[in-house]
Point group: C2
Chain length 203, copies 2
């Protein structure tokens, strides 16, 4: 059964463990691909254009943004970052499950421009656990942690806009759950036009 | 993560293998329950009310039907059969995945009355295969087989109304696919109000 691919957005509050889950995401039956960001940041030694990032100038970035070629964009440390629509669409055409790891506001921005995207909200078992994870990182000041918790509260109120909730009580279990979501999304009629046409042809 | 259950409708053309798939449906992590039909048919020796069927008189049946207590109903060999809404809702409340195996028109009738039902369309690998399965049953006349194929053609045109397509190339694989669908449906926000409320309480 050769299905069309999909964009699957792994999102959730800071401290929900998005990065670790995405790094561990694999399944024998699914071809995953990571979404590649466009950035105006200078290329660092060892980084490869089209692998780590698509590198571009500020004017190239703005032109793409203005022509609606980016699914979302944001500024970080004076550099522009965005998700190119074309790359995502090419990978989907190839039947791949394209992963985009992104914070909550960015995720909702993408869903607005790309309604067929599958939104996954990653949650730690309890909110206290989230606070613990942020605290034991020890890399942030108390004020930053309080800020992040406040933001997490706002983000939890947006859960209803998501397609799926994935509890991240254990990385392996969270990965299993996401694999299951992807496999079942592959079975939706909208991703199986070829199969449906084939069936209809024999009618 | 204690989720609300769901009604999952296994449907598809005659010959798609619905019965075999449903009989083999099980998973260590899912509590399945079979939907129990209401019928005016006489109880046979060994049959238990509330297990095999809910048995009732014709006037009881019609009263339930008229009070919208049946998700669908049909006549078969002069007996009335229907799916009682109350039983399905009780099982869903208990967190179970309630299975209803039914032909395509009945499935769409249920979806209209119970929009949160999950519709699965079971398909044999190719339409020829469907014809083969119907032919090798050897229990039906040529005319009946031609009728069933004609009906299958009409039913395939309704695929877009379904939530998922499950290829039944092998019973074990079809069962795995349905288990995956059920697990991912359990992760939808609408089935996790308690979890969301718990998260919000810690805000």
């Amino acid at each position: 059964m050769r299905s069309t691919g999909m964009l699957i957005i792994i999102s959730g509050p800071s401290g929900s463990g998005k990065g670790t889950v995405v790094n561990n995401l694999k399944d024998a039956d699914i071809e995953y691909a990571l979404s590649i960001s466009l950035t105006t940041r200078k290329k660092r030694p060892g980084e490869v254009n089209g692998v780590d990032y698509f590198f571009c100038t500020e004017s190239e970035f703005k032109s793409k943004r203005d022509q609606n070629e980016l699914l979302e964009h944001a500024v970080f440390c004076n550099n522009l970052y965005g998700t190119p629509r074309a790359y995502v669409e090419e990978q989907i055409e190839l039947g791949k499950a394209v992963i985009l790891e992104i914070e909550v506001n960015g995720a909702l921005q993408v869903k607005e421009k790309f309604s067929e995207a599958v939104l996954v909200f990653l949650i730690p078992p309890t909110f206290e656990e989230l606070a613990n994870r942020l605290t034991t990182r020890n890399t942030e000041s108390r004020e930053t942690i309080k800020d992040r918790l406040r933001r997490a509260r706002d983000e939890i109120r947006l859960i209803d806009k998501y397609d799926y909730l994935v509890l991240n009580d254990e990385v392996g279990l969270a990965v299993d759950r996401i694999n299951c979501i992807v496999k079942s999304e592959f079975l939706k009629p909208c991703r199986n036009k070829v199969l449906i046409d084939n069936l209809s042809e024999h009618v």
